[in-house]
Symmetry: C2
Subunit: 230 residues, 2 copies
DNA sequence: CAAGTAGTATATTGATTACTTGACTATGGC
DNA sequence: GCCATAGTCAAGTAATCAATATACTACTTG
């Protein structure tokens, strides 16, 4: 009967959609996707950063690959995984937006953890873009250097948050600093702002992170900036 | 140690995101979301349409509510569920887009099932919008009447695909017909176009469905159109 | 080619999920 | 107040999932 065929088709159709949903149903896999939105990474470096075993990380990556959300390339001993496309970041961003807007518990968690973050002071992307040409504004990329090299906001200099302390004297007091990192819930930029202010610098964080900036089609660069500090 | 606190925060953060992902990880729940994108519905009507038991459907709806993707209201004996917001449709649409773009198997399934659908002939929303003012173009809503009443493309008339046969003579040959339904993978519009053409009418389907039209901010109406056919 | 490292495959464990069944609650009609 | 209907709840079962441990492959380096 025709309705049977139709049901069968629908089951297969939604079964395909659910493959994507299943890939998004695990916290660790979502964290992996956020890390891969910064730059491609090896299995081992993902495992270390997230705090999972190598085997477990590899399995999660297989799951993501079966949902076609990530691709990989092999280079010598290492297997580098990357997001399969810009839509994949878009997907995880929309998921995040829904969580932000709808989950009361999420709201509470954020308020609790970022009680000291003055959100009103965060710089939106549009504002930074306008003021980026000013020589007074210095954009700081507080992520690990490898992520900076893989891609960063045009004109930003790399100051991984762990190096900030010993590089403070290079960041003179006359300037105004805007720090960014991996995304709105990444704490690197918050820590950097805190440290800079403690040493008398004017500093604010960018509301969003690098992936959001790139997704908005704003200017990005990769490699090392010509005039970068060392 | 500080890193422990940080790990704990991240686990809770991604745990929250994963609540949304988990809700999207089941084919039946995705089908429910698509139906609710058309109009609010009772548990029973969802169960019947999808072919699940009442209890099972109720449980899926609980799962969706815990992820804050749906809301409900009680009216007499009936409990009506609806999408919790426009972002929820946006989410399921992006998920669909990713599946379309990335899953080879999905591609195959669609080609197999819609082998006869001439995609080149489907009308994009922009084109329909432009031509909608012409008295020559008649827009047909082929979904069940209740969904039409809950909201439809401005100016469309309700012709549920099951009623089309007996209402054919009301649809004169001189006009040009554009049929739409629930979305790009809904077959109602295809069936309507097929039937109309078999009876000598000029007919094409809209590429997308009503939820996409509404999400694009294009003109919609609810209730019954003033000049509608009966 | 031996040794070491990065990553994958497989088996096993306990936890979670989907679904069924039957009991239960809430509402409205008679 | 009694019955029927819509929906939820709770318990049980089979299937799936996440994680571990262990064995294995692939590649590099000496």
């Amino acid at each position: 009967m025709a309705t049977d065929t139709h049901r069968q088709f629908k089951d297969r159709l939604y079964g395909q959609f659910a493959r994507i949903g299943k890939a998004l149903s695990n916290p660790h896999r979502l964290e992996i996707l956020e890390l891969l939105a910064q730059s491609e990474r090896t299995v081992d470096s993902l495992a270390t950063e997230i705090g999972l075993s190598l085997a477990n990380t590899s399995q999660h990556l297989q799951a993501l690959r079966q949902a076609a959300l990530v691709d990989s390339r092999k280079d010598g001993l290492f297997v580098y995984y990357r997001l399969a496309g810009a839509e994949v970041f878009e997907l995880s961003r929309v998921l995040r937006t829904v969580a932000e807007g709808r989950l009361a518990e999420f709201e509470r968690l954020i308020r609790e953890h970022f009680s000291d973050r003055v959100d009103a002071e965060a710089v939106p992307m549009t504002e930074l873009l306008k003021r980026a040409r000013s020589k007074q504004v210095v954009i700081l990329d507080t992520r690990p250097a490898s992520e900076y090299i893989a891609g960063h906001i045009a004109g930003a200099i790399s100051v991984p948050v762990d190096d900030l302390q010993r590089r403070l004297q290079q960041l003179t007091k006359g300037k105004e600093y805007v720090a960014y990192c991996r995304g709105p819930y990444c704490v690197y930029a918050d820590r950097a702002v805190e440290m800079l202010r403690a040493h008398g610098r004017r500093a604010r964080r960018l509301t969003d992170g690098f992936p959001e900036w790139r997704a908005a089609g704003l200017p990005v660069t990769n490699g090392v900036e010509p005039g970068a500090l060392k």
